[in-house]
């Protein structure tokens, strides 16, 4: 009746599998032909795919299969960039000029950074509509602080606003303590110290303060979404509207020019020195190459699935070469005015790229990142696995608002002033569009930090290209941006259907 008497075909396998300490028993499995056959049957034996050393050809084939199987990755945004680039180079000969391309980062950094923050929230399947205006609000307070010599001295036009600001930050601190979100708390404490000790009259401290204020806003948003249970769309929509009014209070209805706040102004307008540009380009490209080489080495050592050195070198070589070529062009003078030179990688490019690398590491190499993906994919599974889902959600909103604050700083410098509508209108929607065009799913669980940068490039190229042709009505700008977004969303939906079908 039971299986005790019948010979178990898997019986001997149990003992052999244990003896060599895993791994090695799988090496004895059939080679390529066996794998292909097993795959077509839907069952390969003993992880035959895992011991395979991926060669260059195999890597390419895998990539093609992935794209065909419904995971286009960065492909749509890259193709979009190429198509738009070709079109705009026909529209204006200026488009591919060094000075124009050098302007792109300054015009788009804020979209990239806000989108980076949004990726965290989008991965959860939530949304933060207030990231743009929250960033604008933070930047407005910073501008006011520098202009009026510290917020503690009183915000012009309102006697109580300073106390309300401090009270809100203390409230956020208390909520953070209750929800045990220590990183958020640290950022808020930093902001409070800066504002209470009147350090915010200095530009650098004021910029740091914005991040603390952003974290405080994030704690409150996260609390309302994750703990109280209001849909994030509603919470952040309400905040999106409310912050626009608070910006007016913070600025006392007067735009503040930031042209004199050197450090802040430089963020959007200055470049790294030629030497540092080379260092940056080499570290980014070389770091990728070395990191993937090390990973492949470790995996091969332990007989795990690995990319062969050939594949790693080809891939890493392309990345390194690309980053060096870009650095080389960035280090050429791009000013048409012969009196002074403009060269080097713009800070508005290196900051988002550095943040992207940081976010990628956090998302793929830390427990928090893993739990974020799990919560976005199946929050019930995450909860049962012992993950504190509320904590994950709140911290994602903190990250989003803090990045929003940083994005607000870049937005301000791209406009040269803290204007009254800072961060409203299309800022947030462009950032969401950037993340989606890059390949982040609005349904949660799927996305990369890289998506934000690629998508932001696509988004910023459109107005840039259209404005180069003065007789082309600016109205095209919105129509084309809308079309591109729709196209990207369609690619996402179609690939999703495809991956479900396979």
């Amino acid at each position: 009746m039971t299986e005790h008497t019948t010979p178990d075909p898997a019986g001997p396998e149990v003992t052999t599998a244990k003896a060599p300490g895993g791994g090695s028993n799988a090496v004895a499995e059939p080679g390529e032909a066996g794998v292909a056959e097993a795959l077509s049957l839907g069952r390969a034996s003993s992880f035959s795919l895992d011991v395979e050393l991926r060669s260059v050809g195999q890597g390419l084939r895998d990539y093609v299969n992935k794209v065909r199987g419904g995971e286009p990755g960065a492909l749509p945004s890259v193709l979009g960039l190429i198509v738009l680039g070709v079109i705009f180079s026909q529209v204006s000969s200026q488009f591919l000029s060094k000075s124009n391309i050098g302007n792109l980062p300054g015009q788009g950094a804020y979209i990239a950074i806000i989108a980076l923050g949004l990726v965290f929230v989008l991965l959860l399947g939530e949304i933060d509509l207030s990231a743009g205006t929250a960033g604008g609000l933070c930047a407005a307070f910073a501008a006011q602080a520098i202009a009026s010599g510290g917020l503690r001295g009183g915000i012009p036009g309102s006697s109580s606003l300073f106390y309300i600001l401090v009270a809100v930050m203390v409230l956020a601190l208390a909520l953070g303590l209750w929800m045990k979100n220590y990183i958020g708390m640290a950022l808020i404490v930093m902001g409070l110290v800066i504002v209470l000790f009147k350090l915010d009259q200095h530009v650098f401290a004021a910029l740091l303060f914005t991040i603390g204020l952003g974290a405080a806003i994030g704690v409150i948003t996260g609390f309302l979404v994750a703990k109280v249970g209001i849909p994030s769309f509603i919470v952040t929509l309400a905040m999106f509207i409310a912050w626009q009014g608070v910006i007016l209070f913070a600025l006392n209805n007067q735009p503040i020019s930031i042209g004199n706040f050197k450090l802040w102004y430089k963020l959007g307008h200055e470049n790294m020195s030629v030497l540092w540009s080379w260092v940056f380009g080499a570290v980014v490209g070389g770091g990728y190459l070395l990191f993937t080489l090390y990973r492949s080495f470790r995996a091969q050592q332990r007989k795990l699935a690995a990319d062969s050195y050939g594949l790693v070198l080809v891939r890493g070589g392309i990345v390194l070469a690309a980053s060096l070529v870009i650095t080389y062009f960035a280090n050429q003078n791009r000013n048409s005015n012969p009196n002074f030179e403009i060269k080097g990688i713009p800070w508005a490019a290196s900051v988002p790229i550095a943040l992207m690398i940081l976010c990628t590491l956090v998302l793929t190499k830390t427990t928090w990142g893993r739990h974020l993906f799990a919560t976005g994919g199946n929050s019930e599974a995450a909860r049962r696995a012992g993950i504190d889902v509320v904590h994950v959600k709140v911290s994602a909103f903190i990250a989003c608002s803090s990045f929003g604050a940083l994005g607000g700083l870049f937005l301000t410098t791209s406009q040269n002033s803290a204007s009254l509508d800072l961060g409203s209108s299309n800022v947030l929607l462009f950032s969401v569009a950037a993340a989606v065009i890059g390949g982040t799913s609005l349904f949660g669980g799927r996305g990369k930090a890289r998506d934000a940068i690629m998508g932001a490039l696509v988004i910023v190229i459109i107005p840039n290209g259209i404005l180069l042709r003065p007789n082309l009505p600016a109205a095209y700008q919105q129509v084309i941006t809308g079309g591109v977004l729709l196209l990207a969303a369609a690619v996402d939906a179609l690939s999703r259907r495809r991956s479900r079908a396979t």
């Binding site: 009746m1 019986g11 149990v14 895992d50 993906f373």
Partner: protein, 258 residues
Amino acid sequence: MAEPILSIKGLNKSFGPVHVLHDVDFNVYPGEVTALVGDNGAGKSTLVKCIAGINGIDSGTITWEGREVSISDPRAAAALGIEFVYQDLALADNLDITQNMFLGREIHRFGLLADGEMERKAREVLASLAVRTVSSVRQVVANLSGGQRQTVAIAKAVLWNSRVVFLDEPTAALGVAQTRQVLDLVRRLADQGLGVVLISHNMNDVMEVSDRVAVLYLGRLAAEVFAKDSSTTQIVELMTAGRSGSLGLAPQTAAESI
């Protein structure tokens, strides 16, 4: 006969005025598959939730390896070495097999995730269960079949040196071949010395793979029988009427409604 590793004695549980479990005795033996069967509403889920620490118990004792324990929350059950695989499996579709198996208990090196180490251990566990249906532990769970998902969920449960595994309807949504694979896996778990509890409606599965069958009838334990000494008919009678010949509840108890 070996001592039970997990032993429930005289367990009572009420939800308000509804007395769901009456003096239930239930034992899990190491190296054996114990099937827990019963009609809908017999109290299977409630019993499992009591053991999982999701529901509190009103009276009765839970003995683990000979000493009395109280299981106040799911973590206490996990700490003892009791794992549960629920029907909806609780896997994150967007993560791969390794990531799912280690979800919530990731291994670290220098504060960062040690993916290689986790991959190695995941393969070791799957290999020790002689799982042949998974081609790569780096596959995303969304791409797996129902049987493969069940396999991953079970492997996840045994990854942490658990001693007793509860499987809730593991074959409910599976085709013939996949049911076969999962039942083989269930048998192998027991052969490795784990106590396995199989909750199922499918009499064929129960008779094929289990050593003992505990039948619940309207919140009471009707009988605990050896699978090889009994027939499907007998067990179905126990399930539906509470008694079968000399087995089961006394007639007046069986007739009593809750």
